[in-house]
């Protein structure tokens, strides 16, 4: 990295299954205004806007950044639109961060959103395409066989997924912005919920949310007056093909390569010890143990033991994962990755409120997308790198 970069403002909407009280423009402005307010800035202070979202068909607006330009104060400024599937919220942040680390801009506003209630994501995912088998099952149906492969490989007991679902919902009940608030969730209520895609039950699955996230990224100079900047210590993205013979979809190499790059930049050799808190893209319960292994927090086949021991809980665990409640509580698809990046920043800045972990010095933000093939990650720290 060339120039330093820090998060100086964070905003998100109240997430819900249908935010019928606002238009798409109203939704993104709610998050953007909160980020600007947090940074103590006005629209005029922003040099460029980088916006991301998942497929345009999720709302039925082609290249919605064109319509959103005035709503995001982008008129007369550079504006970019990123789309890298489910990882897009993370990739969008990284594109914005590079506008700062390259020395081109001082303050960049980055925004991601999804307003799923305006359309039907399941329909959008199911459009017949020439030369391709239809994905009629949606994301859960796509990932369930990969999870079954993980269970078979690792010998993980059945209850691990349920444990993750309970833990993340309890975490999310402390996050006022989370879509789902389920403080009374129990092991039994998850276990007894309907099986959607074996082994994923209804309550082991992410919701469908309307929501947006925004951050202001700043250069070292622009961050000088910020009371609590979260510094970028490392960031990377990696992609691999959807399918080819021999591809390991359970523990994808692109994820391992990506995190290795980030750790090398941040000087991290023992992630479980050196990272205080992690916000990781877990849309289906079983992805916690799978990503624990992919991200080097546990040896291959051992991730479920970490989950089982309570290590990833913010109530006594040594490496709390998804204190915000994660994707299992809030899933505005295009913004889900940015929320992970933003929640990591909140923890480093000590501003996460009821779901704050004490004394966070370094945090990991993670997003993935496509068929577990696109990855974006960063590590933030309270100290200048």
């Amino acid at each position: 990295m060339a120039e330093r970069c820090a998060v100086i403002g964070i905003g998100q909407t109240k997430h819900a299954s249908a935010r019928t009280d606002v238009s798409i423009a109203g939704l993104v402005r709610e998050a953007a205004l909160r980020a600007l307010d947090d940074a103590g800035l006005d629209w005029a202070d922003i040099d460029a806007v980088v916006i991301g979202k998942a497929p345009d068909m999720f709302e039925g607006v082609m290249m919605p950044e064109l319509y959103l330009a005035p709503a995001l104060g982008a008129v007369g400024k550079p504006m970019m639109r990123v789309h890298t599937a489910g990882s897009v919220g993370g990739s969008t942040v990284l594109v914005a961060a590079h506008l700062v680390t390259s020395g081109i801009h001082e303050r960049v506003l980055t925004v991601a959103f999804e307003k799923q209630s305006d359309s039907d994501a399941m329909w959008a995912l199911s459009v017949p395409q020439p030369f391709s088998p239809p994905l009629l099952a949606g994301a859960g149906g796509y990932f369930a066989p990969i999870i079954r492969a993980y269970i078979r490989r690792s010998g993980a007991p059945d209850h691990i997924g349920i444990a993750v679902a309970v833990k993340d919902r309890l975490h999310g009940s402390r996050n006022p912005y989370a879509h789902l608030h389920m403080p009374d969730i129990t092991f039994e209520s998850v276990r007894d919920s309907v099986m959607l895609w074996d082994p994923l039950r209804y309550l082991e699955t992410c919701p469908s949310s309307d929501g947006a996230a925004a951050m202001v990224l700043a250069s070292e100079q622009a961050a000088a007056s910020s009371p609590a900047p979260a510094w970028v210590h490392g960031m990377a993205m990696r992609s691999e093909p959807t399918m080819f013979a021999g591809r390991d979809q359970v523990n994808p190499r692109a994820g391992r390569d990506c995190v290795a790059d980030v750790y090398a930049q941040a000087g991290i050799t023992e992630p479980r010890r050196e990272i205080d808190v992690a916000e990781v893209y877990v849309p289906f319960s079983w992805y916690e143990p799978m990503w624990l292994e992919n991200l080097g927090f546990a040896a291959e086949g051992e991730g479920w033991k970490l989950t089982d021991s309570g290590a990833t809980s913010m109530d006594g665990g040594d490496i709390p994962w998804n204190c915000s409640g994660g994707v299992l509580c809030t899933n505005p698809i295009g913004a889900s990755g940015m929320l992970r990046f933003a929640e990591a920043a909140l923890q480093v800045r000590g501003l996460a409120g009821e779901h704050q972990v004490d004394g966070v010095r370094r945090a990991l933000g993670h997003a993935y997308g496509g068929g577990s093939q696109f990855f974006a990650m960063w590590v933030l720290g309270s100290e200048k790198p």
């Binding site: 060339a2 120039e3 798409i24 423009a25 402005r29 006005d42 629209w43 005029a44 202070d45 922003i46 040099d47 460029a48 497929p55 345009d56 068909m57 999720f58 709302e59 039925g60 082609m62 290249m63 064109l66 319509y67 959103l68 330009a69 005035p70 709503a71 104060g73 982008a74 008129v75 007369g76 400024k77 550079p78 504006m79 970019m80 990123v82 789309h83 599937a85 990739s91 590079h98 506008l99 390259s102 020395g103 081109i104 801009h105 001082e106 305006d118 395409q129 020439p130 250069s219 993205m237 990696r238 992609s239 691999e240 093909p241 959807t242 080819f244 692109a254 390569d257 990506c258 496509g370």
Partner: protein, 419 residues
């Protein structure tokens, strides 16, 4: 336009980056026999082969495309197979023209410890009714439901020029005549011809005042560019086309709030890219992404280009307009002429959105500009607070009403085409 921001003081970048290779798929009306991967593979291979590199040498890969052309979500995902992302690549995608993917790659080359990048884009404009599909770029609450189509909106813009006496239909025909003639030496063009402006004036209107020749053909295509930084560029080719500056700006979406006869965002982007002082007089040629003939006139005026500048020597977007590709192709066509010695300096432009809403300007030269190592940044490019104030009001009743009226014109897949 007072709500447009200031341009930066000077283009600030850390090290020189150049276009070292460009390849494109010959644009055709409808590519029926190859899918996106099959269209892209030979183009990517040609761009890499020309400089003796493979995808494994690429420090970064970035692409531009739109799902609404293919009619499928995640259409860029499978297209990545044209590169072969194994072992995993540093890779990203913009839902924009490939020119903006090139911008992202240029930024990455300024920031990361990498020396090369591959940029590609693909556009299958023929899959559906593109005039109708582009209407979905409009405000989804107040404008899109009225289905104003892209040609009708462009015609509104052309009408402003005619009504104000800035340009006439004959001027549009002059632009088209030159572009078609230039295209006779461009093997990748979809249409070409030697008709005079007078001949072209006999064309029927598609939407008044735009006649057939003033509208772009609908076509499928793809393009790829290889970028290299610093000495790496000089090692790869004899004459790299150095990017001496690049910037892009967006305008409001509300057509009624814009001066459609001008392109202030193009002017701002050009200034921020370094088209200041006497630089405009040194430009040898300009490849302007003007899908409609009148838009070339608007862009040339906004850029203040001298009379001697060769405009769209390739024929431009009037002779081949694969959506999401045509902007990247402008950079490629301009760079090619710097690389082959037929130009010292060139300007390339790309646009996005209805009536030139968003514009990118890239300056190219056979000489690298002075690198600003760790140096001055572009100072705030701030829009005014007033910008935010206009936000929720985008697409006023008046705008929507006008657009809706225009939307009743023609339904053909291509302007003037029978489909």
């Amino acid at each position: 336009m007072s709500s447009m921001g200031r341009a930066g003081v000077a283009p600030a970048w850390r090290r020189p980056v150049a276009v070292v290779s460009f390849a494109q798929y010959p644009t055709c009306r409808r590519e029926e026999h190859r899918n996106e991967v099959e269209v892209l593979m030979p183009v990517v291979a040609e761009a890499l082969d020309a400089v003796g590199l493979t995808k494994d040498d690429m420090g970064f890969v970035c692409s531009g495309s739109s799902d609404y052309l293919v009619g499928a979500p995640f259409s860029f995902v499978m297209a990545l197979d044209a590169v072969g992302a194994w072992p995993p690549l540093r890779e990203s995608h913009v839902e924009m023209d490939g020119a903006f993917a090139l911008y992202e790659a240029w930024v990455m080359l300024q920031s990361e410890d990498i020396d090369t990048a591959l940029v590609y884009s693909f556009g299958r404009s023929s899959s559906g009714n593109i005039r109708r599909a582009l209407g979905l770029q409009l405000d989804p609450y107040t404008m899109a439901p009225l289905w104003p189509d892209s040609v009708s909106l462009a015609a509104l813009q052309a009408r402003v020029l005619v009504d104000r006496g800035i340009a006439s239909e004959d001027d549009f025909a002059e632009v088209a005549s030159r572009c078609l003639r230039n295209a006779t030496s461009n093997p990748n063009a979809q249409v070409s011809g030697t008709a005079s402006a007078g001949d072209l004036m006999r064309d029927a209107y598609v939407v008044e005042p735009l006649r057939r020749h003033a509208c772009p053909p609908v076509g499928d295509g793809a393009a790829a560019v290889v970028l290299a930084a610093g000495e790496r560029a000089s090692e790869l080719v004899e004459r790299p086309a150095w990017i001496t500056g690049m910037d892009h700006r967006v305008e409001t979406h509300a057509l009624g709030a814009r001066d459609l006869a001008d392109s202030p965002s193009t002017r701002l982007a050009a200034q921020a890219a370094g088209l200041v002082g006497g630089v405009a007089s040194k430009i040898d040629l300009a490849e302007l992404h003007a899908p409609f003939a009148h838009q070339e006139l608007i862009l040339a005026r906004a850029l203040g280009l001298a009379d001697g500048v060769a405009l769209n020597p390739s024929g431009g977007a009037l002779v081949a307009n694969p959506l999401m590709v045509a902007g990247l192709a402008r950079i490629g066509e301009a760079a090619r002429r710097v690389m082959d010695g037929s130009a010292h300096t060139a300007l390339a432009h790309a646009t996005s959105g209805p009536c030139l809403q968003q514009n990118l300007v890239c300056l190219l030269s056979d000489q690298p500009g002075p690198a600003v190592l760790g140096g001055a940044r572009t100072a705030g490019t701030a829009g005014t607070g007033g910008t935010a104030g206009t936000a929720g009001t985008a697409g006023t009743g008046g705008t929507a009403g006008t657009a809706g009226t225009a939307g009743t014109a023609g339904t053909g897949g291509a302007p003037g085409e029978e489909s």
